[in-house]
């Protein structure tokens, strides 16, 4: 996805990756705060945003975990989302490492 969009333009790739990782980190922090505050709408909104931005950049695994959090909050108790939060942190780190290392597989699936 990112390779298709950037078409060899390293500067554009760097800009998009940095923008995405900064925002995703901020979303994960906001999601943790919303979970801690038992703010179901905040959790769902933030997870939904992260699901979308991750999908657009091609970070499929991160998008899938964020999507599971949306589904969990919609279907089950808010506390059921806690295990997914830990997974989200882990997958974010893997995604960031792959994107920053210019891994041609681009993580991500």
């Amino acid at each position: 996805m990112l390779a298709e969009i950037c078409d060899g333009n390293a500067e554009l790739r760097q800009r998009l990756v940095t923008m995405f990782l900064d925002q995703a980190r901020s979303d994960i922090t906001a999601l943790a705060a919303a979970l801690a505050a038992s703010d179901a709408d905040g959790v769902r909104t933030t997870a939904h945003a992260l699901k979308g931005s991750s999908a657009v950049i091609g970070a499929k695994r991160l998008s899938a975990v964020a999507g599971r959090i949306c589904d969990t909050v919609a279907t089950y108790r808010l506390t059921d989302a806690f295990p997914h939060q830990a997974e989200l942190e882990l997958v974010y780190e893997l995604t960031a490492a792959a994107l920053l290392s210019n891994d041609p597989t681009e993580v991500i699936s």
């Binding site: 996805m1 298709e4 969009i5 950037c6 554009l12 800009r15 998009l16 923008m19 995405f20 925002q23 909104t45 939904h48 945003a49 699901k51 979308g52 931005s53 999908a55 657009v56 950049i57 091609g58 499929k60 998008s63 999507g67 949306c70």
Partner: protein
């Protein structure tokens, strides 16, 4: 996000869009907007980027795009309100709804409110371009049929 971050371009002569369709992108997520711009800027004349519903409506009125991508979840009323108002105020614009979740009930409501197609976040530039072109053509045909 502030209104200062919205981007716009002045309306151009009507002959311009015969060659390159004019596109408005409305999404409160700046990453999504940037990615869509990078994916679509070769095939479309991107005339504006709105970060909320009010900006989307204003930019649609001032830029008169051929097609507008409208995100489902945006501040100031969301994609449903944006679609209703753009559909009413700028009928020439084909509206295409954008969502990360195809099962979102709001998507159906937006399609019923005047959007002509649905885009899933994560599509390739080629897929997006094909759907947007098809939407412009279908919308033009529908307008001609109604006229």
């Amino acid at each position: 996000m502030s209104a200062d971050t919205a981007r716009t371009a002045p309306a151009r002569d009507d002959t311009q869009h015969r060659h390159t369709p004019r596109l408005l992108i409305a999404d409160d997520d700046i990453v999504v907007q940037s990615m869509l711009c990078a994916q679509l800027d070769r095939a479309f004349d991107i005339v504006g980027g709105a970060l909320d519903t009010d900006q989307a409506i204003k930019l649609a009125e001032s830029c008169q795009p051929d097609v507008a991508i409208i995100d489902v979840e945006m501040p100031c009323g969301g994609g449903l309100r944006a679609t209703r108002e753009i559909h009413e105020r700028v009928p020439r614009t084909a509206i295409v709804v954008l969502s990360a979740d195809e099962s979102d009930a709001t998507v159906l409501a937006i399609l019923n409110a005047g959007a002509i197609a649905y885009l899933r976040k994560g599509m390739t530039g080629q897929e997006l371009t094909r759907i947007l072109h098809a939407s412009i053509a279908a919308h033009a045909k529908s307008l001609a049929g109604n006229g």
